[in-house]
């Protein structure tokens, strides 16, 4: 496991994380449940985290991992506030369907 980085080209991580990001985008467009959409946003954040960690280990620079740490902090705060919003929305309209929440639609 010590030198696993040496036998894997970095392009594989690029392809994997971009594919994960696209699955997240697809999920946001695919579903109507707001909780699932939040989960897909988490998936996209994870793809970016994976990309940052791979760049930081392949370049031998620890700053990328510090940034991943901060991204995790922001993701945790975002999920807490987003779920609180969803709970209060559910209390008002008894649903988490995004098609009902169309008052601000242009």
């Amino acid at each position: 496991m010590e030198n696993s980085i040496q036998s894997i080209p970095q392009n594989w991580y690029l392809i994997l994380s971009s594919f994960m990001f696209c699955i997240g985008i697809m999920g946001v467009l695919f579903r109507r449940n707001a909780i699932i959409i939040l989960m897909c946003i988490e998936l996209m954040l994870n793809a970016v985290n994976l990309l940052l960690v791979s760049f930081s280990s392949y370049a031998g620079n620890a700053e990328g991992q510090v940034f991943v740490f901060f991204i995790m902090v922001v993701a945790a705060a975002e999920v807490a506030v987003g779920l609180a919003l969803l709970v209060s929305i559910y209390r008002n309209i008894a649903s988490t369907d995004i098609n009902i929440l169309s008052k601000m639609k242009w």
Binding site: Y13, L16, N49, S56, Q65, V73
Partner: protein, 167 residues
């Protein structure tokens, strides 16, 4: 093909399949459970990349805290297969096609970024707690403290938002 390449292929296919199941499973509870598995496999990728500290933090924060929050909310709102809204089939096709097209665009954009056989010089120790802690508490002290303020405001904000309104 070395052992680490085989591990990478297994982990990557596991990650992709669980991510796809998150999007395509009908029941929201199953989506949450698949997402937990997906996060565990991403932590496995972090271990492969010599980022041990981040792998442990990822398991604690994502699979522990965030997914418990999601699971609690899904169960609290009593979401299940019957109440799950669905988009029309045409919009679903459009979503899948636009996701695939975006993947193609990203691949084409990154095709020339680094040579395909670029290999790291050597396995390093930058993922260890000592190195990350040195960086975090020496050069990034101010962002670290600002992050704690962000957490405090998120905590207060979520309590205020989720509190029952007095009529």
């Amino acid at each position: 093909m070395g052992i680490s390449q085989i591990i990478f292929y297994l982990l990557a296919s596991f990650t992709i399949f669980t991510a796809l199941f998150v999007v395509f499973s009908k029941n929201p509870i199953y989506s949450v459970l698949w997402l937990i598995l997906c996060f565990f496999s991403v932590a496995g990728h972090f271990v492969m990349l010599n980022a041990q500290f981040l792998a442990v933090v990822h398991i604690i924060v994502y699979s522990g805290a965030i997914m418990v929050l999601f699971l609690f909310t899904v169960m609290l709102l009593n979401l299940n297969k019957e109440t799950e809204p669905h988009k029309p089939l045409l919009l679903k096709f459009a979503a899948v096609i636009s996701g695939g097209v975006l993947f193609l665009i990203i691949l084409a954009a990154m095709k020339t970024t680094i040579p395909s056989n670029y290999i790291a010089p050597k396995a390093s120790e930058i993922g260890y707690v000592k190195q990350i802690g040195m960086k975090l508490y020496r050069e990034y002290t101010l962002p670290f403290e600002v992050a704690s303020i962000l957490f405090l405001s998120a905590m207060i904000g979520s309590v205020v938002l989720a509190k029952k309104e007095r009529a």
